[in-house]
């Protein structure tokens, strides 16, 4: 699936520098919430962002941060929130997934693995600390709606798993 959609190359690095407020190791580009960024006349910029979850409380902050970053670079930004097409974890870049793992959050897998994991049927989610798959589902919802909580039964750390949304 095309992860980066219609982002002007002059704006790419600016947007890439904006972090997700809840998971600061993840850029909003790597998270896949920036759907388009177009340079218009007179340094005007139109950016479209889409929420990960409907109730994601980070969206207002992301909108403000995008505006701030563009203003600091001399652009006149307009940020629009769009709902369609709906965000999916497939839009998260590989770089983003690696950053998540290093941060201690198990990155999203694929739909089938996810289902098995969240039904507690199979041990398929690897602990981001010790790589062991001897892990157990603690809760289908964790610190935010986009994550579930697991516990590693080898190193005994609890950790967040970024749930698939496909």
């Amino acid at each position: 699936m095309n992860t980066i959609q219609n982002i002007d190359h002059k704006l790419y690095s600016i947007l890439k520098s904006v972090p997700d407020p809840e998971i600061p190791v993840l850029s909003i580009i790597d998270l896949g919430v920036v759907r388009s960024a177009v340079l218009l006349d007179n340094d005007k910029v139109k950016v479209e962002i889409t929420p990960t979850y409907s109730g994601c409380p980070a969206m207002d902050v992301i909108g403000d941060d995008v505006k701030k970053a563009l203003l600091n670079n001399g652009y006149v930004p307009e940020v629009k929130l769009i709902l369609s097409p709906a965000w999916t974890t497939d839009w998260m870049t590989d770089e983003g997934k690696t950053a998540l793992k290093e941060y201690g959050i198990a990155p999203p897998t694929d739909a089938e693995t996810d289902k098995q994991a969240l039904l507690g049927n199979k041990q398929v989610i690897a602990c981001p600390q010790c790589e062991s798959k001897n892990t157990k589902l603690v809760s289908q919802f964790a610190s935010t709606a986009c994550k579930a909580m697991f516990k590693c039964q080898d190193c005994e750390e609890t950790f967040d798993y970024f749930k698939c949304l496909i």
Partner: protein, 251 residues
């Protein structure tokens, strides 16, 4: 179909999410365990997020200069079109789960159909919300089974909750005048057509949970026409307090 028909139709969908979201929000910090507390408030947040998308669209459609906050906080009780089920109190954890499951199964079936609405805004909200509601249903269904097929006490409490809340399920499939008009125009969903699939799914899970399926033929109704149970006024008093006390306040 007028814009007003469409607005009223959207209320009958969005108000369910708002009021249930508010009910679940009451549990923040009061859930039986930390994990269930967090899960329930996460679900509340999803529902409120969905509500915002609907109300923002209503604000766009409205001829008056409405905002999403006006729509959420400044209507009177009779102007809310949510079903009676979602306003029922958090009596105990069994009631919370039974209410949630009864709503989630309906919500999922509704959104599944709404993904094909001829209205692009409703279609977009449905596609987004659907993914979230799949998680809600899994959570409430799992707990219903766990409590129903659990200890003697959890079973008895779940049986009681199912029996008491069952009378509010039929209203989910009622169609008011605006529903009919908006559905004819291809924007809305024929609720009545979801009924068979709904009861089939619920009854299968209740059976698996060793819960007896209620046999009553008497059902409560009224919410979809704005006639609510005695609980609704208290919810609104709580929810609208800030806006009414400090008009036009913003976060």
């Amino acid at each position: 179909m007028t814009n007003e028909n469409l607005i009223q139709y959207i209320y009958s969908i969005a108000d369910n999410s708002l009021i249930l979201g508010q009910r679940l929000g009451e549990l923040c910090g009061h859930g039986p365990t930390l994990e269930t507390d967090i899960a329930i408030t996460n679900i509340a947040l999803d529902l409120l997020g969905q509500t915002r998308s609907y109300y923002q669209y209503v604000a766009e459609l409205s001829k008056e200069d409405l905002t999403e906050d006006d729509v959420a906080f400044l209507r009177k009780e009779r102007e809310y079109k949510n079903v009676l089920l979602v306003e029922q109190p958090n009596t105990d954890f069994a009631y919370i789960i039974a209410r949630q499951y009864f709503f989630d199964v309906y919500h999922f079936l509704l959104l599944e159909k709404m993904m094909d609405s001829k209205n692009v805004n409703l279609q977009a909200i449905a596609k987004k919300s659907m993914k979230e509601v799949a998680y809600h249903k899994r959570f409430s269904g799992d707990w219903l089974k766990r409590l129903g097929d659990g200890t003697e006490e959890s079973h008895q409490k779940m049986q009681q909750a199912v029996k008491d809340l069952w009378v509010y399920t039929d209203e989910l499939f009622h169609m008011n005048e605006d529903d009919e008009i908006v559905t004819k125009a291809g924007f809305g969903i024929d609720n009545a057509a979801l009924k068979d699939a709904y009861y089939q799914e619920i009854e299968a899970l209740l059976k698996e949970s060793t819960i007896e399926i209620p046999t009553t033929s008497y059902f409560q109704k009224g919410g979809k026409k704005g006639i609510h149970t005695e609980h609704m006024g208290y919810i609104l008093a709580d929810m609208q307090y800030m806006q009414r006390t400090y008009p036009d306040m913003k976060w």
